[in-house]
């Protein structure tokens, strides 16, 4: 049943901000490879054809700069410090797929069991930034694309209490932006890249703004 449930966003309570000097560890997940996400009704052969046709775009997307991702982690840390908290950065990227599931209600607890990660750290709360997906989305019917690719960036932020990993905040920024002008511009795909940069900036800013909303 928990596998069928949908993760819901959760607003951060004002109580959090009243606890000054709390220790927060800020971690981020391992970044996924930027790629074209093929969605729609496709058979195996269709999928293989579409993957081959998307190869030039995928080759371009693999070169997308992801240095903004550690910078986002640092931005959270700096803002937390400015609010009187004691943040620190978790030294390694988390491989979320290799961590076990928490098998708890995912709208009260983190879906992932971070016990092994949290145990050695001395902190009151644990903030996880997860880059879910990055690149472009394109819809297909069989092997026929039914639209142009759209730039896409999805980031989820979660804050958990280190005592029992109950959820204090969650926000998912799932941003898709259509390409302005011509998209099919190999090899640089300039317009697609511009749309992607906007998607990245928007997703980042939304996650930060939601966490610090009103403060």
């Amino acid at each position: 049943m928990t596998g069928c449930a949908t993760q819901k966003n959760m607003e951060l309570s004002d109580n959090f901000w009243q606890q000054k000097n709390q220790k927060i560890v800020v971690a981020k997940s391992k970044a996924p490879k930027p790629e074209v996400m093929q969605v729609g009704n496709q058979g195996l052969i269709d999928y293989a054809i579409n993957t081959q046709m998307a190869k030039p775009i995928n080759e371009r997307l693999e070169k997308v700069d992801t240095s903004w991702y550690p910078a986002l982690q640092r931005a959270f840390t700096q803002k937390l410090a400015a609010h009187g908290m004691q943040p620190s950065i978790y030294p390694t990227d988390l491989n979320i797929k290799k961590l076990p599931s928490s098998n708890k209600d995912i709208n009260k607890y983190a879906a992932t069991d971070y016990s092994t990660v949290i145990a050695p750290v001395n902190a009151n709360t644990f903030l996880i930034i997860q880059l879910d997906s990055l690149g472009a989305i394109r819809k297909y019917s069989g092997f026929i694309p039914t639209g142009a690719p759209e730039a896409h960036c999805s980031i989820t932020g979660e804050l958990v209490d280190t005592k029992d990993q109950h959820l204090l905040w969650r926000y998912k920024a799932d941003v898709t932006i259509p390409v302005q002008g011509e998209w099919d511009q190999p090899p640089a795909y300039t317009n697609l890249n511009n749309a992607l940069q906007l998607a990245i900036t928007t997703a980042q800013q939304e996650v930060i703004d939601n966490f610090f909303s009103g403060h």
């Binding site: 966003n9 026929i144 939601n210």
Partner: protein, 214 residues
């Protein structure tokens, strides 16, 4: 060939049908249902600024069932229909919605006696420096796609300038209620109303915080 002609005909008829939720209905005025303990004889400007507006597009209603010819024909018809009338297929929290919001906020401020007078402005020319200026910058408004029932995320930065206080700046981010995979029967109008009321509550709380702080 006959099968594709019939598909072509059906797709044309289908795209003319009324869809389950419509983006074009204008949002009703936003209600402020809480109380605020701020009452001043001052006048205020409510200065509206717009930012990034990200819209959602209604997907094609047609299911091509993997039929490539139907997909080609259907996509071409769909693209032309959308080109002819883009507003019918676009879900947005743009200028029209923001105008309703900011007018509602003005009414809420007046009805609750927060300020003696409130002027809506879109430019900072000819401002009286002795009055309060509340700048509402709609930094980002984003409408998610149909898989999230066109849920809306709003980020508004409020700056309050007053001659007798420090400049007050807060950013508020709100979004619709938890996402569900199952269609809950929420119309886009309901999404707009819910998120607007949440934002109005935050902004009025912000004004209260500004007023009660030195």
């Amino acid at each position: 060939m006959l099968k594709h002609l019939i598909t072509f005909f059906c797709l044309t008829m289908l795209t003319a049908c009324v869809t389950q939720t419509s983006p074009e209905k204008l949002m009703p005025s936003v209600q402020y249902r809480q109380s605020i303990s701020v009452h001043t004889h001052k006048s205020a400007y409510l200065y509206w600024k717009t930012g990034l507006q990200l819209t959602a597009i209604e997907p094609s209603a047609a299911n091509y069932n993997g039929d490539p010819i139907a997909a080609l024909i259907g996509s071409a018809i769909d693209a032309q229909l959308r080109k002819n009338n883009p507003g019918r297929y676009t879900y947005t929290y743009g200028g029209a919605q923001q105008a309703v919001f900011i007018t509602s906020m003005k009414n809420a401020l007046l009805q609750n006696g927060v300020f003696n007078k409130v002027n809506l402005i879109t430019t900072d020319k000819s401002l009286n420096p002795n009055e309060v200026v509340i700048i509402l910058n709609f930094k980002t408004t984003r409408v998610a796609g149909p898989e999230q029932q066109y849920a809306i995320s709003l980020t508004v930065e409020m700056t309050i300038k007053s001659p007798d206080k420090k400049t007050f700046i807060r950013t508020y981010s709100v979004h619709n209620s938890p996402n569900e995979n199952v269609w809950t029967g929420r119309s886009f109008e309901m999404q707009q109303t819910e998120v607007s009321e949440k934002m109005l509550n935050h902004l009025m709380s912000g004004i209260s915080e500004w007023y009660h702080n030195p």
